[in-house]
Symmetry: C2
Subunit: 294 residues, 2 copies
């Protein structure tokens, strides 16, 4: 069998992004960690880590990490039937889109995390990058807008997140005094989450406006809403994120009645054990409280 002491050291270095922190987490010296990694590489005849500046896995390292994480999930499962093995909490590394993490997802996860003593490693990624991380075995599950399953993984539909283009009433009065005319929208500042965020482009295309248009870039879910509240621009926000601002009228629709619906899917390793299957069922059920059925 593989030497899991060595694989555990590899996983710790990658997880904690450093030899010193990995050593601390495992209660070992930094030199012990370093020796384990070297021994692993000597046995395999290939490097598992790229050392500078923050340690990164090589292709081989990633496959080993994927494997050791699956083994840890299975161990955790064993421990539930053999309480004498229990004690270690299970780490679950998940790629998730920023809007879900900033709105409905934590509440939905609460009871599950408490019941199963899980520790979460949340990696915030756009859908393509999230699925790529899944493919490379860096995460055990991924919440994103793509329904294309990754090889070796299952996918379940969670529902639809509704996005509305919102701004302050003052902002709309200033920039669009004659309603949402394309010629005025073309010069109205938009807030965009990042270079890969096409929601605003899709929304404006519906209204006859093509890129380029003036825009701010803000990769923070909360910052996005706060920039809109500060009258700096308008942008597409999850309805459930802005419900308070909509109720109080601090934010209003740029064009009432027009919105975008984004479907959300949960991807998870097929051989990740009962915990991952149970989590998928749990989320599919909980998501119904916050998302619209597909």
């Amino acid at each position: 069998m593989l030497d899991y002491k060595l694989l555990e050291a590899l996983a710790a270095v990658l997880h904690h992004q450093g030899f010193e922190r990995a050593a601390k987490a495992l209660g070992l010296t930094q030199s012990a960690i370093s020796q384990r990694i070297k021994l692993l590489e000597a046995r395999l005849g290939q490097p598992v880590l790229i050392r500078t500046p923050t340690p990164k896995a090589t292709d081989l390292g990633r496959r080993l990490l994927n494997h050791v994480q699956q083994v840890q999930l299975l161990e955790n499962e064993l421990a539930t039937s053999l309480p004498q093995l229990a004690g270690e909490r299970q780490r679950l590394r998940i790629a998730i889109n920023a809007d879900s993490l900033g709105t409905w997802w934590p509440q939905a996860m609460g009871p599950f995390v408490q019941q199963h003593s899980i520790e979460l490693d949340l990696v915030i990624e756009d859908q393509d990058v999230g699925l790529e991380r899944m493919r490379q075995g860096e995460v055990a599950a991924c919440l994103c807008a793509s329904d294309q399953p990754v090889q070796g993984a299952r996918v379940v539909s969670l529902g639809v997140m509704r996005y509305r283009a919102l701004a302050t009433p003052d902002f709309i009065a200033k920039h669009l005094p004659h309603g949402p005319r394309p010629e005025d929208l073309k010069t109205t500042p938009v807030i965009v989450f990042g270079p890969n965020d096409q929601l605003q482009h899709r929304y404006l295309a519906q209204l006859g406006v093509e890129s380029p248009f003036p825009h701010h870039l803000c990769g923070s879910v909360e910052g996005f809403l706060l920039l809109a509240l500060a009258g700096i621009g308008f942008g597409l926000m999850p309805e459930i994120q802005a419900h308070q601002e909509l109720e109080t009228g601090r934010l209003v629709d740029v064009v009432p009645g027009i919105h975008l619906d984004v479907p959300l899917y949960w991807h998870y390793w097929r051989h990740g054990g009962d915990l991952l299957s149970a989590l998928a069922s749990h989320l599919a059920k909980e998501a119904q409280h916050s998302l619209t059925p597909l």
Copy 2:
């Protein structure tokens, strides 16, 4: 003089993270952009871009980007006194810590952005990375916890952000029924923003608890608070972020009376023109409404 058509193409490719999007933004064909970059490289005898997968600047490319951004700032200033030159909105690339962007900063920026017709490019970074980006000329300003000025930049103090360790009353009753005893804190799940976030470590060290301790990783300001609200862990949050939850009692202090104060500083290019100086004065004034004086 340098050929600014070529530099503009370089800046656009880096800003939009791709040739196609840069072409669209400048109203050119992709092949025209590509030719401009090649011409620039031929004249300089060195590559300015690393092409795959997303274009990245070489050292030379970064210096040119830094330069062209400073020129753009100065152009903008000229345009304020020569209205016939105006029309283009000024892009301002700023590195900022996530907690400021998720709390007080957008509100403070609102009037300034509207008055000066600025477009913001916000890059969310920890302090060290933010300052490194400043050093490399990738951002014109940086909001972070370090008071060490970068060469060629000025730094002003904005005040102090107060962090409190918060959790739900249920969470505290479950994990710390006998008060914050070190032996209980050692097994209480903590929420950490990322591998470089040492706030929780500093807080726990004050209470006699050293790493490792069970922890979740969540690099989202809003997700962080929502995980705490879902009873998944406790963590250090800006007091101004959690004021509603504190008022309603949904979140309470893990140890009443103990908090951490983090000073915040604004760094900006010395030769970035009047706009950057005016922004620094504006922020120093506005920050007083949200931050405690140092």
